[in-house]
Symmetry: none
Subunit: 374 residues, 2 copies
DNA sequence: TAGAAGTGTGAATCGGAAC
DNA sequence: GGTTCCGATTCACACTTCT
């Protein structure tokens, strides 16, 4: 009782669509547990650069040399990683998930720490840069990608994955684990007053667009503990998600706030994405019989010549087996399972028609009754 | 003086171009230190699979369920990894290097252990599979790549990198860190007497070809502690490198030996056969949206006055129909099919511009930066 | 015989609502 | 929380068989 009240109060206190100032570990610890749907984290990469790098024309490469990217040792970086991951895990709802992006300098340590903390890795995703910086010295391969890890809070977590939306984004075939997306350049790249880039590692909005469409729903709460210039917040706002940003540096917060204020949300119809069949209401086969769409005693046919007879209670009997449309189909095929709706056909005017058509009719009527779209 | 003599004697005893039987850690400890130029390792991935998986057609996926891939815990796997890495590091010459391949199940643990052991990571390389197995349940992204880590024995190591050879392999531009290579199938895939695959995880020769051309010279000694069916040995022989294989399983050793005996060393001209132009890359319309070239909610126009609205997942909605640019166009025209790229136009400065222009822009970027056999 | 059509398969951490 | 049972879900190739 007490706990419920506390949680309720805490939930109400969730600072939505704000950029919080301070160290992300401390700030995350001050927020209510199990309150966030998704975390996107772009932690320091611990680049360990030595000296300056110059291009063949002797111009100097503007590298990441900020204080926030300096760690004394692998141990120090691991401790930092464990701490922020633990605070992040506490914030996630049981069915929440996390994305972390990194390069070979840090991603192996981050991935290990995630597994040790009980996060369950769902995919590692490769961001293939279409326009990476070349290797000027010719001593290694062009470092043309970064790695993202997508993980649920625990192995048991029922994470969100908008499979059909991803498939639609990829013109009808499954989205793969390698994404080709250009670097953040041009107008999208934020500049400071002097015309220099406002942040050394600003991520492209296209990357966040895909992450958020894939693994959140409109209205979800997305937290970014290393907010930087606020790409996560900007894209979340466009897509109708709530965000919480945490950023230590005053200058980044200012740039991010100004950026997000400029962002307009897409209209609602644009945000609807292709949904999954799983979300449609379940129709028991018995309803087809009850409504007289099929008569008890009528015969159903499988693609491969199997025959079964409809019974008044919505079960089938055929070939010495009785049971649901799924069970009899599975038995005839000797298969572990079978979708009876697509397996069985009835005959009308000499033609075979899948019984799934009858289910679609029932669903259409249900929708009309409820006054829902589709 | 004494040390030099011992080393010399040990060098002479190096068992070149042989497959050694036994546990790789013990065997490596028995070999002379600082005697090997390159190590290629394909250790067990510790997949932790649960039940069976079936395809939508109910056929069963033949998964990796071998005893050698089973570990009791992350701790046990980490201990195993530390031990074989330490034995491998001892074997490497000071300027030697190592490649390790893995998937998200194990690669983060392997990468961390390598850094902890003092290996210096040079690149992580993504093997992007052109024909991966799909995700049959639609619950995650298609797992379409594996990761390789390339590292020198230490930060000070003067590793071998054949920059020009890689550049030539890539049609004159720097080789990137993402490599597109098909799975090992067809005649290359070794079968046992029963016609089943001889090894569940045989790697394609093209992958080893690129690794060895990039980071060894003819006459170098290449060791593979998880030899399996001997892809490393076969490609090393073709390319005029010496190999040492270590394999615990008698059946794999037999297959590998037979395979390598059949291999003939390439003549020089045969080495220059890589590189074919590929078809124009397919560009999903969703990329146009993700990249912000069109906004969700923005209207598209057909030549004959049809209107549709862009959605966040790259589908269109218009006139009571939802679907891809092609589907909605076909529906408006009452046609069986429609090329949405040329059919739909967006408005800029009062003028109608075909969306195909946006696809051409994306292709131009891809050609400039990616359009290589890579 | 060439082309069409059908079959097989690959390192996979591959449910979830209802009772 | 355990059990039952509905019912959703695949891409690129190589190879074989049929027309």
């Amino acid at each position: 009782m007490m706990k419920t009240m506390t949680q309720g109060a805490a939930q109400a206190a969730l600072p939505l669509n704000q950029i919080l100032a301070g160290d992300c570990i401390e700030v995350m610890r001050s927020l209510p547990e199990a309150s966030v749907d998704l975390i996107f984290a772009d932690p320091p990469y611990n680049l360990q650069l030595r000296g300056d790098l110059h291009r063949p024309d002797n111009s100097r490469v503007d590298a990441v040399d900020d204080a926030w990217d300096q760690f004394a040792s692998f141990e120090a970086y691991d401790r930092f990683t464990r701490d922020w991951l633990s605070a992040a895990q506490r914030l996630l709802k049981p069915n929440g998930a996390i994305w972390v992006i990194g390069s070979y300098h840090n991603i192996f340590r981050v991935g290990s720490a995630m597994q040790n903390a009980g996060f369950w890795i769902l995919n590692d995703v490769v961001w293939r840069k279409s326009n990476p910086m070349p290797n000027f010295r010719g001593k290694r391969l062009t470092n043309a990608h970064e790695t993202l890890i997508w993980a649920s809070k625990s192995e048991a977590g029922k994470y969100t994955f908008n499979y059909e939306a991803m498939k639609a984004l990829n013109e009808g075939v499954q989205m793969r684990s390698d994404w080709v997306i250009p670097l953040c350049t041009g107008h999208e790249r934020l500049k400071d007053a002097a015309g220099d880039k406002a942040h050394p590692t600003q991520k492209p909005e296209a990357l966040l667009h895909r992450v958020l469409v894939a693994t959140t729903n409109p209205g979800d709460v997305v937290l970014d503990p290393f907010f930087g210039t606020g790409t996560t917040g900007a894209v979340a706002k466009m897509l109708g998600r709530d965000f919480i940003g945490i950023e230590r540096e005053e200058s980044y917060r200012a740039v991010a706030q100004e950026r997000i204020d400029r962002v307009r949300k897409f209209d609602k119809s644009a945000l609807e994405t292709t949904g999954s069949k799983r979300a449609e209401p379940r129709v028991p086969f018995g309803q087809v019989v009850e409504r007289g769409m099929l008569r008890p005693g009528e015969e159903l046919f499988s693609p491969r010549g199997g025959i079964a007879k409809v019974r008044a209670d919505g079960t089938l009997v055929g070939n010495d087996v009785k049971g649901s449309i799924h069970q009899v189909g599975a038995h005839l095929e000797g298969a572990p399972s079978c979708n009876g709706w697509t397996y069985w056909h009835f005959k009308r005017d000499g033609k075979l028609i899948p019984i799934d058509l009858l289910r679609q009719q029932i669903r259409a009527e249900m929708d009309a009754d409820l006054g829902r779209p589709n």
